[in-house]
């Protein structure tokens, strides 16, 4: 019973859309230029429960501080019904922004909804906040999001704390935008109504160029260290 409950909960976590993130799993308050878009394809595999899913995300810059975030997960395995997850749509408004020569501090507000892709499921209204603190080679991202389920859909919530450090280059070139390698460490929690909160820690690396990001990591379930997931993702500036 405990194993099947765990499987269901893990499935529900994996089907929660992540939307646009510069951390591996966290949201960020960094900009998408007006009229610009960033696409992301992510693969995640839970090695213990043999669950695989892909998620497609899109971030669109409406104006300088206004961004639309979309996410749609799809379960690759196990087979069966309800493989297509629900569409998450969020509007991110940067309410506070302080920029310096080699730093930026930003606070964004998130609001939107979850639209079911199956008639048998209900939607949700979601709201939260995201903050980014960047200085020199370090970046901190924090997010908090609550989804109030409609009708029979249970409420859900998440938090993330992400830390990124630029491994190389130690110093940027005088002119031009080169590639860089970043180290990522994240702590995240996922809660669903009538379930206990799952706390997870993620370690990974990112290769970041002007138009592409390639990244990967390992996710450990702190509630049960035997539960691990592998994550692989790519982003493209469209």
């Amino acid at each position: 019973m405990r194993s099947s409950q765990t499987t269901v909960f893990l499935l529900s976590i994996l089907m929660m859309s992540i939307a646009h993130a510069m951390g591996l799993r966290s949201f960020v308050a960094l900009p998408v230029e007006k009229g610009g878009a960033v696409g992301r394809m992510q693969l995640e595999r839970n090695t213990d429960q043999d669950i695989e899913r892909s998620t497609v995300n899109l971030a669109y810059g409406m104006r300088a501080r206004h961004t639309l975030l979309f996410g749609l997960p799809y379960r690759l395995s196990p087979s069966g019904p309800d493989r297509l997850g629900d569409l998450s749509a969020l509007y991110r408004y940067i309410a506070w922004q302080v920029d310096g020569p080699a730093r930026t501090h930003r606070l964004g507000l998130l609001g939107g909804g979850i639209m079911p892709t199956e008639n048998s499921r209900d939607g949700a209204i979601q709201g939260g906040a995201v903050a980014t603190f960047y200085r020199q080679r370090y970046e901190w991202d924090l997010d908090l999001l609550y989804a109030a389920g409609l009708s029979d859909r249970p409420d859900a919530a998440r938090y993330d704390v992400s830390w990124q450090y630029r491994l190389t280059p130690a110093e940027y070139p005088d002119w031009g935008i080169g590639a860089e390698w970043d180290l990522v460490a994240e702590l995240g929690g996922r809660w669903r109504e009538n379930q206990s909160t799952v706390h997870q820690i993620t370690f990974g690396v990112q290769w970041i160029s002007q138009r592409w990001v390639l990244e990967g990591g390992v996710i450990w379930d702190l509630n049960d260290p035997h539960h691990t997931s592998l994550l692989l993702s790519t982003r493209l500036h469209l």
């Binding site: 960094l30 900009p31 998408v32 230029e33 501080r65 922004q97 110093e171 860089e180 160029s209």
Partner: protein
């Protein structure tokens, strides 16, 4: 003849000045990683009259080269930086390279 020659020399100098390209540097705050500033470079290149735009994360600047004979619109350039999500500060005109 001598007068005509001097007139031709002066006319060519004026012509060279008229078609020379301007280069500007904009100081920008808030830039973080390579992926984040791609949008800034795209915005700047799209501006009318801009021949080339380069970004320096090291110096926190963007360098914009205008097409010959085209004067830059500083307000448009600053707005392009804002639209990319960053904060523009001072704009410096770099004398055209010899």
């Amino acid at each position: 003849m001598k007068v005509l020659r001097w007139c031709l020399v002066i006319a060519s100098m004026v012509y060279q000045v008229a078609i020379s390209a301007e280069t500007l540097e904009v100081t920008i705050h808030g830039m973080t990683c390579a992926f984040c500033v791609d949008g800034l470079q795209r915005n700047l290149v799209k501006l009318p009259g801009v021949e080339r735009a380069d970004v320096s994360l090291k110096h926190k600047k963007a360098r914009i080269r205008m097409k010959p004979g085209v004067s830059p619109d500083i307000a448009d350039i600053k707005q392009a930086v804002i639209d990319a999500g960053f904060t523009p500060l001072g704009v410096t005109v770099i004398p055209d390279a010899q």
